[in-house]
Symmetry: C2
Amino acid sequence: MEIVRDIVAVRKIIGQIKKDGLKCGFVPTMGALHEGHLSLVRQAKNDCDFVAVSIFVNPAQFGPREDLTRYPRPIKRDVNLLKKEKTDLLFLPTAKTMYPPDFSTWVQETVLSRPLCGAMRPGHFKGVATVVAKLFNIVQPDIAYFGAKDFQQAQVIKRMVRDLDFPVQIKVVPTVRDTDALALSSRNAYLNAADRDNARVIPYSLDVAKRMILQNRHVRPARVIAAMKKLIQARKGSRIDYISICDADTLGPLERSSVKILVALAVFAGKTRLIDNVVVGRG
Amino acid sequence: MEIVRDIVAVRKIIGQIKKDGLKCGFVPTMGALHEGHLSLVRQAKNDCDFVAVSIFVNPAQFGPREDLTRYPRPIKRDVNLLKKEKTDLLFLPTAKTMYPPDFSTWVQETVLSRPLCGAMRPGHFKGVATVVAKLFNIVQPDIAYFGAKDFQQAQVIKRMVRDLDFPVQIKVVPTVRDTDALALSSRNAYLNAADRDNARVIPYSLDVAKRMILQNRHVRPARVIAAMKKLIQARKGSRIDYISICDADTLGPLERSSVKILVALAVFAGKTRLIDNVVVGRG
């Protein structure tokens, strides 16, 4: 595995890959890798001839009161995990490389970015779209891989790719869950035993929501949300950031015509904000 | 010359060009081509193996009271001019192709876009940056060519390319002028004889400014602007939109450290808004 810190070096390697006509897969990450990330890498290895991974804790997608500085950065462990997966290239830029002092250009998706996490974390998806646009231009992958846990992020990126005509295919890979059903997240490392115990209500409440919808595909969203709220609020030490039931394609209100229903939520377990979601077909 | 209207067809042609290892030059235009555009095409032909030109009157860069609908579209004439230059590919998309109804992603440069034309035409450079990002992703050129008449546009695009790491080199080609020194512009077609006569004060005032600066490289900008104003206001039927003397690199106020001085202006000749500029080295 080549480990590269500067953009020119990546371009050189990728230039050769393109010349050789190899298919390039790309997994952008913020590091602190877990089985969720590794499932993206394995999917990329399966689809492509050459797999690049980036690790970059992107300051632009953190709010001023968020966890940028304490976000976990176990880089040696990450490198070993990626080597085991036979990753071909690890791009490991610094913040200075990605954002020179007079950086002034932003990519902003303005519709799908607005509700859900976008409403709670202003500027978050602008930071995400901008860094992903940069990474796509640097790595020039044929296929890029994103996790379904960050459902809204994947929707925003897919829209950006369509709108700005990036020559990249986006693949969304199912969420990987722990034995207690909690979705894997780098932020799970923040949880103490009590938080972790409380956090189990997140996948549980989603499962309840899914069953309510499957029983009655036209159940009122407010009824489902009320049931979820009740479950979550019963756990002291957990606090709801948002719960939303919406059209999975538009992220707008459910319509009669909606084909897939998204149930998404953000919940604080202790001080740690966790997100999760489930998509239920109406078919 | 291949004339292509849809994105998939462009990708197919460009894919083959890349496979063959050919260097691709790209000249994005809004059509109504003149010798200024053709000088870009000739430079591209000189530098590259394959030259693509786009003609697209980009609605996103016109303000609501601007000349989008009456912008000249002499497409047959343009096609013939491009054939004569041995252009390889003409991309001629529709507005629907470029902006589907639920289009929602924008590229915005936030510093160099603000003064000069950016202050007078809110949203203009957001429209420019977005369409150029799209065109770069569709055509994937090695080198893209822009005219020096639109100095601020070229600066914004260069910054966007740097910030978002587009794998494209930007070349800025000198302004082509008519025998009366008026910079060539598709909008010159709007001018009647009296407007045209008035418009000559634009390059003349720039020339006066240049000579004042060359005589005294630390002349106060306000003195130069006053001299230009006097000349322009002496022509009835001309109206100043703005005159600016600034640092050519930052587009901010002139500093002791400024290396190049930009004198830029927009003037209405009759109802037609024309822009022009000159850059004077301090060295």
